[in-house]
């Protein structure tokens, strides 16, 4: 479970997050929707510490608490323990272009968790099979379609065994058929009980969610849909 309480963040004088409070339940797919500039992506990026915030706190599970720092950087050890529990999938995929699909998926286990390459390679094969890319182990990101790249990115996030995965508009850089491929993978993940938080404008994706939260002007509206 992730509990966000009274999060405040400024960009200069602008209050991007204006006391956002929300609960994300374990084992659920929660969609975060709302108009552009409402602070959805910022809130999501605060959860794994890619953005700092000024006030409030984020509690992840029972033991990890990230406190507002007034805009200063977080403690790096704290960030490491959070990021090992919280994975992320980006709008622009952000695959590592100098590595093959399999190496991309191996990057986390090898360079973050210190697993052996052989073990990581086995995990990567299984995960790429799970997202339907068994044929593309050696392909470089530049040779994959957008949908394939995003599926590799999901496999890469899964490879470090996170308790929760954050999705930042995972389908908005894709045309509908490719978005469909990604959606199918996410539906499969949801069925297996993976906790996921998805920022999206995609209604097909929002409809998959167990619950939908709306953000507007830096606040999370109290109504929870579905």
């Amino acid at each position: 479970m992730i509990q966000i309480t009274n999060l405040v963040k400024y960009h200069g004088a602008h209050r991007v997050l204006d006391g956002a409070t929300a609960t994300f339940r374990a084992g659920e797919l929660t969609a975060l929707v709302g108009p552009s500039g409402g602070g959805k992506s910022t809130l999501l990026r605060c959860i794994n510490g890619l953005e700092t915030f000024h006030e409030g706190q984020i509690q992840i599970g029972d033991d990890l608490v990230l406190m507002g720092t007034g805009g200063k950087p977080f403690d790096p050890r704290m960030l490491l323990s959070i990021r090992r529990k919280v994975g992320m999938v980006f709008q622009q995929f952000n695959l590592f272009p100098h590595m093959s699909a399999q190496e991309n998926v191996m990057a986390g286990p090898v360079h973050a968790l210190g697993k052996s390459r052989a073990e990581a390679a086995e995990t990567a094969k299984k995960l790429l099979a799970r997202v339907g890319l068994s044929e593309k182990l050696d392909a470089r990101p530049g040779n994959l379609s957008g949908g394939q790249q995003q599926r590799v990115a999901i496999a890469r996030a899964l490879a470090v065994n996170p308790t929760v995965i954050l999705f930042d508009e995972p389908t908005s850089a894709l045309d509908p058929s490719m978005a469909g491929e990604v959606l199918a993978v996410m539906r499969d993940l949801a069925k297996s009980g993976q906790t996921m938080i998805v920022v999206t404008h995609d209604m097909d994706l929002a409809l998959q969610a167990n619950s939908v939260l709306t953000m507007r002007a830096g606040q999370v509206l109290p109504e929870r849909l579905a």
Binding site: L80, P97, H98, A107, G108, H111, G142
Partner: protein, 522 residues
């Protein structure tokens, strides 16, 4: 009517011009040139003194002309005679301890001798003791003692003598500056030097720790060179030298500088003999019967050996430059503020100062400072800094600044999302930089980095000023004694550089094309 005054003026000026002769432009190299020519520290206006300065003034006076000193690089002074005398750096005569040499006589005319020199072997007192250097014979190869490093003036008779007499057993290093060589011997960074006796006696008197070893050998003549068609000038100079010897002017000058010795008695004998003598020593390319042999196999062998040093300098120094450059770039882009500022200054200082100066600092000045600390490890380092190592360090240092800028550009070009993706996977910042950002940045800037390697390859020639005999230095040494082949040697040397750098260009182009391909390079 308006022209009349001008014409009148011309007529008025002509007789005056005829009376007032042009100054006698004499070529010399004042760098480290005591006692031939050097700055008088005691005089308030720091003017040049030296036995050749006084000789030139005497000759000019005899010729009824003013004396005008023209400076140049010693080894290239005769070349300056190829231009007319009245242009920038043009000369009437070369008067700077130039020996009577067959190769020079082929192109220029020489006066009768004005001084008889000998070669003196000079070492450091302690070096001589430690390395059992007691005479010339100890320079021959001997398995029981290490090879001696001996410095000589590039293009001098001493160089030629050493090369011919001790082809093995001596590590011969040529340097354009005599004072630097003495300094190296004094600091025990060089075992010995072979110098003409005027320079030898000056430095023995004025510098501590030096000692002459064995007897002075191989007497030879100092002569003045002039253009072959300046017969009148040559005759006047010969006459002035003869008169100067007979009326005691020249001996007086030599005695003033402590250069007088019995050898000089021969000068009078040679005033009466046919000049130049028939038996001027042949250059090296004759066989035992005095028959000329084709010099090219030997020249090629020497040039190729030097080209090997050039390649070695480049391939050792450039990876170092890349490594340092990469570290500096990472420090500047990702390091804290207090690190970024000094690194920025490092890049600007190194980029903003000439490579030649940096090499000079590393080889001469920094060891000098290390000696002054008298701290054991520093003194050891200073004594053992070889020209090659100094060259590698200098090139690596210089190019590290350029590579730092290349890599910085590369690092800044990697999208922010790459770093975020790595961090989101739980990698530390350091791991993210090392595993994700740097590999991409390095690939991105391969073309400009390869380009710099080609540039460095040619910049290795700068190492010639610190005694590294690489291709350019070797070319300089060779053409000094093969002046008839000067153009051919230049083309062969340039060809060797091209032959080595062109394949690099091809590799650079290939890499660039591969990296620009849609699939992206590995």
């Amino acid at each position: 009517m308006r022209r009349l005054p001008v014409i009148l003026l011309l007529f008025a000026a002509l007789p005056a011009q005829a009376q007032e002769k042009k100054p006698l432009r004499w070529g010399t190299d004042p760098t480290g040139g005591a006692p031939y020519i050097y700055v008088d520290d005691k005089s308030p206006d720091k003017k040049y003194i030296g036995f050749e300065v006084e000789l030139a003034e005497y000759l000019a006076k005899k010729l009824g002309r003013d004396s005008a000193m023209v400076d140049g690089d010693w080894a290239n002074l005769p070349k300056q005679l190829d231009k007319p005398a009245d242009v920038e750096k043009g000369l009437d005569i070369v008067l700077n301890g130039y020996e009577l040499r067959k190769d020079l006589l082929a192109e220029y005319a020489a006066t009768r001798p004005y001084y008889v020199y000998r070669l003196v072997l000079i070492s450091n007192q302690e070096t001589a003791k430690d390395k059992e250097l007691r005479g010339w014979a100890d320079l021959f190869p001997n398995p029981a003692t290490p090879v001696k490093t001996v410095g000589v003036l590039g293009g001098s008779a001493a160089y030629k003598h050493m090369k011919k007499t001790y082809p093995e057993g001596v590590n011969l290093q040529s340097n354009p500056d005599v004072a630097n060589v003495f300094k190296l011997v004094q600091d025990r960074r060089m075992d010995a030097t072979v110098q003409d006796n005027p320079a030898a006696s000056y430095f023995l008197k004025n510098e501590k720790g030096l000692v002459a070893i064995g007897e002075p050998v191989k007497p030879g003549f100092y002569v003045i060179y002039y253009r072959k068609d300046d017969k009148e000038l040559g005759a006047a100079l010969d006459k002035a030298i003869a008169e100067g010897l007979r009326d005691g002017t020249l001996p007086k000058i030599y005695k003033k500088y402590g250069l007088w010795n019995e050898d000089q008695e021969r000068l009078w004998y040679w005033l009466e003999q046919p000049w130049p003598p028939e038996d001027v020593e042949e250059d090296e390319d004759v066989d035992d019967d005095g028959q000329a042999v084709n010099p090219w196999p030997r020249l090629f062998r020497e040039l190729l050996g030097a080209a090997g040093i050039t390649v070695l300098l480049a391939v050792v120094s450039f990876p170092l430059a890349m490594l340092v450059g990469l570290l500096v770039a990472v420090g500047r882009v990702y390091g804290p503020f207090w690190l970024g500022v000094p690194l920025g200054i490092y890049v600007e200082v190194i980029r903003g100062t000439p490579l030649l100066l940096q090499l000079f600092m590393i080889y001469y000045l920094i060891p000098e400072l290390m000696f002054q600390t008298e701290f054991g490890a520093f003194v050891w380092l200073a004594q053992n800094l070889t020209p090659f190592v100094a060259g590698v360090l200098g090139l690596a240092l210089n190019y590290s600044a350029y590579e730092a800028e290349n890599y910085r550009a590369g690092l800044l070009a990697i999208p922010k999302g790459q770093m975020e993706a790595a961090l989101a996977l739980g990698m530390t910042r350091a791991t993210s930089i090392r595993r994700i950002v740097v590999p991409q940045a390095v690939r991105l800037v391969i073309p400009p980095v390869t380009n710099d390697f080609i540039a460095l390859f040619k910049d290795t020639s700068a190492c010639s000023i610190i005694l590294v005999v690489e291709l350019t230095r070797k070319y300089n040494e060779l053409y000094n004694f093969n002046r008839s082949l000067i153009v051919e040697l230049a083309f062969v040397t340039a060809g060797l550089y091209l032959l080595m750098s062109y394949p690099l260009s091809i590799v650079a182009n290939r890499l660039e094309r591969r990296l620009n391909a849609p699939t992206g390079g590995r």
